[in-house]
């Protein structure tokens, strides 16, 4: 069920309708990542935010000033909250966000549950109902409509499969399934 979420980013009484923002009214503000162009093997993360600022809401890809977490809300016990927040470098229980171009919502998966790229890719295919195809060192995911990419510890966007699995697990911060055309640049070495 695809719904416009009436989400307010502030914790006080201002409703979205009266929110001042840059950009055209009515445009989908949940479209988090507009199409940044890809040059070469690595992309500077600053390029992404520069380009995005011009084309979408100020509250978008450059994440909103960390929304003041309302203390004690939602009412989830601290114990449970702490269980799933551990994220850095642990093999098991490492949750990362997965976004797909065109999908309004992000997902989250536990990288620690997978033992290899093929397991991970199969899971992504199941989750988003698409075919990613096989990875090749020279051509990336050429031949598939989609290509899985990830942001590493340095903030660089890489093609999933470029580095050994263990290195990927420890450096992957988030995943993004790009429409194939954009990812082609990533696949080629500079």
């Amino acid at each position: 069920m695809e719904m416009e979420r009436s989400v307010s980013y502030e914790s006080d009484l201002n409703f979205k309708a009266t929110e001042l923002r840059l950009g055209l009214p009515g445009s989908d503000e949940t479209e988090k990542q507009s199409t940044p162009c890809v040059r070469g093997h690595k992309r500077a993360s600053s390029e992404i935010s520069e380009e995005s600022k011009g084309s979408s809401k100020v509250t978008d890809t450059a994440p909103p000033p960390a929304k003041a977490h309302i203390v004690g809300w939602p009412p989830v016990r601290s114990y449970r909250k702490n269980c799933f927040q551990k994220n850095e470098g642990e093999g098991v229980g490492k949750f990362v966000k997965v976004s797909m171009d065109g999908a309004p919502y992000l997902r989250k998966i536990d990288l620690g549950v997978y033992r290899s790229y093929s397991e991970l890719l199969k899971a992504l295919e199941n989750m988003f109902k698409l075919t990613i195809g096989a990875y090749s060192e020279r051509e990336g995911y050429h031949g598939s409509e989609y290509a899985p990419t990830y942001e590493d510890k340095d903030g660089d966007w890489m093609l999933v499969g470029d580095v050994p699995w263990e290195m990927f697990i420890s450096s992957c911060k988030k995943l993004r399934i790009m429409k194939g055309s954009e990812a082609r640049g990533l696949g080629c070495s500079a």
Partner: protein
């Protein structure tokens, strides 16, 4: 057991003789010992002095919902023969960090009194209390018959305290450590059980994080032939689990460890075989880091399952569906919202006997994250599970129409806790407040005892609650209401209200003071980030001397604002152990 009871006879005076009932004391006490419910017992004790005395001598279990409502001396004096005590301490919002850490609810004073007056104490069940290692050690050496310790949402202790319990409690049958703020210093406490110790029936250390010595655990499980509840922590692997299960086919409740190790085929077969000999399991939990491909190993143990707790297992909808096909007798199910609506449809299709559903959010603080569950999943469950009466549902969107449909399908709700995670969020299809949703709940569900509301709500919601929720005992409110009138409706309209907890609502002094007499019939009232002032609280404290009115102030707030207010009835007077941040008016 009966012969150990202390016998005390009032020397009868002539007035008492003429009023004395025709039953000898022994008969009354015998009859009263059959009353288990503490509500029944309280009623009995009010009949006449004889019955009061007979009841207090025969009472073996005491439940104290607010540790500050009464003093340990009063309890021990009135009930000299108690064997079991249940105590609850901090206000529930302490679970969500709204209460300062050193607030109080320390068990030690109680233990000291009981050690003197009730040394035959066997069971202690604590919720939201502070308990130190010294207290645990004191407990373990002061009560020679001590059998059961259960700690839920408590803090102040470390695994060293558990070592003391394991070392000294020779008659221990239950050690149940759940979701506490425990300082986990390692797993050596488990090794403190003597090799000769064989009495354990309940062992739950699921929420401890440190590694424990598996050989020690295996030996303990194999020699405790009466073990019926075993909930281990994540350090126990999938390969180790069968070795525990083969020693304990009599288990009725199992909490697995981690469920994600890579197994060889023989290891998987061993796991499957171990589960197939567990014919008595009715409760299953744990399953951390669950790898769905191993779930089929469980299937044979699921036939008689009535309670499945998957709230720490991030399963997808399809994976849950496959598992639930093997759980036809399920009555209680706890899941994470990773299962999404598709998973909830599977719940409806496979679990017609379901009575309780809890859906927890994987990522409550992140708004970017996927759907989780929506109104569609809620409706799906209600369509096929007519016995549903308890729901806890965390979601990011809901509609008035959906809730109305749900309660029409399931009119027997006793506990309805709906948490729309974004504060003040309206109906996602109409943009209207969610008043009609909760109106439908209270109008239709006449047996409703507990209600948590959320979403965009005006005073109308509270008018509905006051008008219809005649059996409501507990109400939780956040970011809701338009004026004092809302809270007034509830205080005036709900005769059985016992606990009212409110945060971030526009209720002020007028609302607070409209409940003056009401508060004496309630256990407690919590109000934080509302519009109540210090003067309002002072007035309340002055007019109602049998209430304790405690105020906690935030740093940097206006002097006149009462940031957090906690009001409760007490026969023990104002407490003397309040920290500087808590002011009793």
């Amino acid at each position: 057991m009966e012969s150990e009871l202390k016998r005390f006879r009032n020397s009868p005076n002539s007035e008492e003789l003429t009023r004395r009932s025709s039953f000898p004391d022994e008969v009354i006490e015998r009859v009263l010992s059959l009353f288990k419910s503490h509500k029944d017992r309280s009623a009995v004790s009010l009949v006449c002095k004889d019955w009061y005395n007979a009841e207090r001598w025969s009472r073996t279990h005491v439940f104290i919902g607010n540790c500050y409502s009464v003093s340990p001396e009063i309890v021990a004096r009135r009930f000299p023969n108690i064997r079991s005590v249940t105590l609850k301490g901090k206000p529930r919002f302490s679970d969500f960090n709204l209460v300062p850490l050193n607030w109080g609810a320390d068990i030690h004073a109680w233990l000291v009194v009981f050690a003197d007056e009730c040394p035959f104490l066997e069971e202690l069940r604590l919720k939201r209390m502070t308990i130190s290692d010294e207290s645990l050690e004191f407990l373990s050496v002061s009560f020679p018959n001590f059998k059961s310790l259960s700690l839920l949402s408590c803090d102040g202790f470390s695994t060293n305290g558990l070592s003391a319990i394991a070392t000294h409690c020779k008659n221990l049958i239950e050690l149940d450590i759940q979701e506490n703020g425990i300082d986990d210093r390692g797993g050596s406490w488990l090794s403190c059980f003597p090799e000769s110790f064989t009495l354990l029936e309940v062992l739950n250390f699921a929420n401890l994080t440190s590694d424990i010595n598996f050989d020690v655990l295996e030996r303990l499980v194999s020699r405790c032939k009466s073990l019926r509840v075993l909930k281990v922590n994540q350090s126990i692997s999938l390969e180790q689990l069968p070795r525990l299960l083969v020693h304990a086919p009599q288990l009725t409740e199992l909490g697995t460890g981690s469920f994600s190790q890579q197994l060889t085929f023989p290891q998987y077969e061993e796991l499957e075989s171990a589960f197939s000999s567990c014919n008595n399991i009715h409760t299953l939990s744990g399953l951390w880091d669950v790898k769905a491909i191993y779930l089929p190993a469980l299937y044979s143990a699921c036939t008689n399952l009535t309670f499945l707790n998957l709230s720490y297992a991030a399963l997808q909808g399809g994976e849950l569906a496959k598992l639930l096909r093997h759980c036809p007798r399920l009555q209680r199910l706890w899941v994470m919202d990773t299962v999404e609506d598709k998973g909830l449809e599977a719940v409806g299709l496979n679990c017609p006997l379901l009575e309780e559903l809890r859906v927890f959010p994987l990522d409550p603080y992140d708004e970017e994250i996927a759907h989780g569950v929506t109104e569609a999943g809620f409706i799906a469950v209600s369509c096929f599970c007519p016995r549903l009466h308890y729901v806890l549902y965390f979601c990011r969107q809901m509609t008035n129409a959906a809730v109305a449909t749900v309660v029409q399908n399931c009119p027997n709700f006793t506990h309805f806790r709906l948490c729309i995670m974004n504060p003040r969020q309206p109906d996602c299809t109409t943009g209207e407040p969610m008043d009609e949703a909760f109106g439908a709940v209270v109008k239709t569900c006449t047996k409703l005892q507990r209600l948590s509301v959320s979403g965009l709500l005006t005073d109308l919601t509270f008018e509905y609650i006051g008008k219809y929720a005649k059996n409501l005992e507990t109400l939780s409110v956040a970011f809701a209401g338009s004026s004092d009138w809302g809270m007034q409706c509830v205080l005036e309209g709900c005769p059985k209200l016992r606990k009212l907890e409110i945060r971030d609502c526009p209720f002020g002094n007028k609302a607070l003071l409209s409940g003056l007499e009401k508060y004496e019939s309630m256990r407690s009232l919590w109000m934080s980030a509302c519009n109540v002032t210090m003067n309002g609280c002072r007035l309340l404290a002055r007019v109602m001397p049998r209430l304790n009115v405690e105020v906690m102030k935030e740093d940097g707030s206006d002097d006149s604002q009462a940031d957090k207010v906690y009001v409760y009835r007490s026969v023990a007077g104002p407490r003397r152990d309040a920290p500087p941040s808590v002011q009793t008016l």
